[in-house]
């Protein structure tokens, strides 16, 4: 288990966040803190509001009520993005299909003119190497496998040198071996660049494997926040059902 980082510094605060789409209440009065350098996993079944919550954390969606504060400033404040740098790894990778892998990874630096083209090229190679990819700079995203796309998306996030990396279902659609590699990558990156990681997933193995703390979301309600061990001991029937669900299919009866 990963050591729980110091709780002295709260870097992200979610306060009474609520969001509805029409009559559907997707998030109901969500409140929690995220500490500097921790891997904070948000777990829950499909449709529980995890991705919507993640979009609020990075400022892509506006809440109906409540707020998200990064270092005590609202996440929508343009200064927050520039100063603290939040990067997101999307579930699909969300690579720009018209650009090559190299152009995708270097997009942030190219668009903001932060480095010379030669320096950008060097950074692209470095970041791709960190995620275990090489000689893919000139390939198009359409030519990559699902796992490679996710790694390129992580490399693109790293270029920002983020203080926060948000991952949306990083292991979905991946085979178990690549899922483990991605999980290890998340931990390695946290250790290497010191970024605070917020991971949304319904993959129990990933959550228990990498999390410092886990939050469980159920029908838009935050049911639990704590360490993986505390979660395993929690007696809430919904949580137990979710974390212990397994196939109990009886072939004889079915026949």
């Amino acid at each position: 288990m990963n050591p729980v980082p110091s709780k002295s510094e709260v870097v992200l605060q979610v306060r009474h966040l609520s969001k509805s789409f029409g009559n559907v209440h997707v998030l109901k009065d969500i409140t929690f803190d995220v500490y500097k350098g921790e891997i904070f996993v948000i777990m829950g079944p499909s449709g529980s509001g995890k991705t919507v919550l993640l979009k609020h954390l990075i400022g892509l969606d506006k809440p109906d009520k409540g707020e998200v504060l990064v270092h005590d400033k609202p996440v929508q404040n343009p200064e927050v993005m520039e100063k603290y740098r939040l990067a997101m790894v999307f579930q699909s990778g969300a690579l720009l299909n018209s650009l090559t892998v190299g152009e995708n990874v270097g997009l942030y630096l190219t668009e903001h003119r932060l480095k010379t083209p030669k320096e950008i090229e060097k950074i692209i190679s470095e970041k791709l190497e960190i995620v275990g990819l090489s000689n893919v700079q000139n390939r198009l995203p359409a030519d990559l496998s699902g796992g490679m796309k996710k790694r390129v998306a992580i490399a693109r996030a790293l270029v920002i040198e983020p203080e926060f990396i948000l991952y949306d279902e990083p292991t979905s659609e991946l085979d178990p071996m690549i899922a483990v590699t991605i999980g290890e990558e998340i931990v390695r990156l946290r250790d290497r660049v010191g970024a605070t990681s917020i991971v949304v997933t319904h993959d129990r193995d990933l959550a228990f494997g990498i999390a410092d703390r886990i939050a469980v979301l159920f029908n838009g309600n935050l049911l639990f926040i704590g360490t993986p061990d505390e979660l395993k001991q929690n007696t809430n029937p919904d949580i137990q059902k979710f974390i212990t669900a397994e196939f109990r299919f009886n072939k004889k009866n079915a026949a």
């Binding site: 939040l86 299909n97 668009e111």
Partner: protein, 247 residues
Amino acid sequence: MFQSIGELIVLFWTTLRAFPALWRNRAKVLDQIFEIGNASLLMACILSLFIGGVLALQTGPVLVERGLGQYVGGMVGISMCKELAPVMMAILIAGRIGSAMAAEIGSMQVYQEIDALRTMNINPVHYLVLPRLVAISLVLPVLIIFSIVVGWLGGALVASFNHQISIGFQSYFANLRNLVHVRSVVGGLLKGLIFAMIIGTVSCHQGLHTLGGPRGIGRSVTKAVVNSIVLILILDYILTRLLMFAD
């Protein structure tokens, strides 16, 4: 409907305000110009040649019958530069380029590429809308000039070789020179510029507001083309009236 019109105005205004970022995006503008020109030049050529030809074919015999055959050149010339070239080219571009813009931006919206841009602090209006709007506004007037010239040529060919008309090239173009003034051409180009802004804004707006999956993209493409054409035809009437006052 009023909400969409409001959003269109806001998007257009936001794009105008992004103009200081144009120089930084010049490579994207050039890419778009190349793409638009490449996709439409041949079509524009064929369309204009036949429009000019049909104009001469429809009006020539009637004018010749009434002893006004020498006016075929002027007739084709004015129709092409004041009305047909701007409107037909705008409709062609709305179908060919507006649909492609809506589809490309729409799929970027659906597959979260635009969200990814936002998380990198890259403004989608600067990155996607501005280069397209500038490129289409530069290309459409050029295509209109091209269309006018090819249309005149198409008319001249039919006027010369159709036995019911038989007006020589020289007399066709002499009459055209007499009747077509520079301001007629400039008026047509002005219309084209405004139509280009309409097509660019409507198509990018539809793309950015795409919801759902592939079906949503299809819906956006259809809306982009239909709304552009409707707005082009309505504005064409208003602009024609305004240009008549200016004459």
